[in-house]
């Protein structure tokens, strides 16, 4: 049984508009059998945090194209994208690059 994990989530670049304008969320993921990975985190966010228009944030299993994901300030491509396993006190940032200017 994995212990509950505390995660620091940030939303930027316009993505926060889908989360009631709140840019920072400190959440605790409940404990479960297998370790948490990014795929499950996305499902959790969609269920618990996303207030409107889910199609603007998630697409299928992954984030919508145009949303940059940083895990502990590194591009998530370097960490394995959806397969990355979350650890306690991780900092995950979702930045929308579509709302540019």
């Amino acid at each position: 049984m994995a212990a509950p994990i505390a995660i620091h989530l940030e939303f930027g670049g316009g993505a926060e508009l889908l989360f009631e304008g709140l840019k920072e969320h400190r959440v605790t993921l409940p404990s479960q059998l297998e370790p948490w990975d990014m795929k499950q985190l996305l499902v959790w966010i969609q269920r618990n945090l996303l207030k409107e228009r889910p199609e603007l944030f998630v697409q299928g299993d992954s984030v919508r194209p145009g949303i940059l994901v940083l895990i502990n300030d590194a591009d998530w491509e370097l960490m394995g994208e959806l397969e990355y396993q979350l650890q306690d006190q991780d900092n995950i940032v979702f930045i929308s690059t579509l709302h540019g200017g």
């Binding site: 316009g14 194209p65 145009g66 591009d75 370097l78």
Partner: protein, 495 residues
Amino acid sequence: MCQVVEEYPDQLERADLPSVSKKCGKCKEASTAVVIRTADTYCRGCFKEYFVHKFRATLGKNRIIFPGEKVLLAVSGGPSSCAMLNQVQEGLNQNAHKKLRFLPGIIYIDEGCAVNQTVEERQRKVSELQAVFKAAGFPFHIMPLEQVLDLPNSVVVAAPSPSEQLASTYKAAVDHFIQAKRSNDLTAQDQEETSVPYVQESHTQRLQQLIGSAKTLTAREDLLNTLKQHLLVHIARSKGYSKLMLGDNCTRLAVKLLTSISLGRGAQLAQDTGFSDSRYGDIIVVRPMRDYSANEIASYNHMFNVPCVVIPSLNTKTPDRASVHCLTESFVTKLQVDFPSTVSTIYRTSEKLQTAGRSSISTNLCDRCLLCMCTMDTAVEKASAFQATQVSTQLSQAKPTGSPEQPTASGQCCSGAGTEGCGSGVGCCSSASVKTPDLKSLLCYSCQLTIKDMLSVEHLPAYILSEAQRRLRRFRMREDISEFLLDDGDEGGDV
């Protein structure tokens, strides 16, 4: 590959994903943080160097901005323009090599009325941005979009460009500047306390009426862009700036390229997406961020705490198919996920575009589109696609009685009116629709499409309508006396 629902089973091999345990591709010391162009992985420090260097190299390579020039930065609060502001700040601060040498000012256009924001919301965003601008230390101007209703006619008239600033004189100008600097330091412009102009409720309503008269989101976006551009150019001219910097990034320009082609702006692609755009004559529009992809900018802004303010626009939270721009954007970004060189390929195509040779100075006034100020592309040749669309439009509008729409029979009435030309009165005396001129002949193809989407053109700002009247009158006058005119381009030119 070109299906609507695309599935990529395992036949596509993914290249080995670089992992964070690997070292930075450049300095080989620190751990990687950012992926650029799939294969290059940089650490924080190298990424910052790369980012900063690219900005200065882009400006230096193009040799358009001369030392000591006044440059207006158009900041919308979004990530790209704030990154641009940040780079200009850094570039002017350092004593490092390749230091920037121009005098910047900042302009922010508050378009909250077009997005139906309340006055309080607009004020809140404006004060957030004011804090950012004050920290930058450059003179800044904040203009509500409603000011566009009060612009003078001169905005849509291309001013003659100043004496040719050739690349060859650039080096001389830089040397001269460095020598002069030794004697006296570059006096940075003082930050004046410019207050935000008060906006009348009636102006806001008029503007909302105007934007609302466009039926489709595509037309609305286009109209808003045009009005913003006019306002930017006017402010640059009135405050004495000779260059205007826009923060369009690579991804945005790639989307703009495809969108422009879909909207019939193929002839103006080079100016819409190129590094420098000289359609206004005296103000040159420059796009220094065009080499940066949106991802790079977002990563940089996050890592180095560049302040930016998110302001909702016309296409915030709209579904994919709301407008041509939205659709193209979703197409390009989706394609980019699986084919990471999409954006750079499109961008490289745009780099190869150039405007055909005609020098802008000799271009007749009537040869420029009224709204977008680009050279007209509607000279109808036989068997061209444009002629085909015109024929089909006429056929679909042909009335049963067979009489075409009332042509302004200017020949009859005005020559009979005596010595006065058509300039007397508001418009041509015979035409019934005096108040709302028929703008079609004054616009390029894509601006015609935008106007077609509007319920009526009477809500357009006064400067556009009056300039349209003026050009139509001149055109008719020219037609009247055409048989007495010597041909253009005859030799000698003696009277």
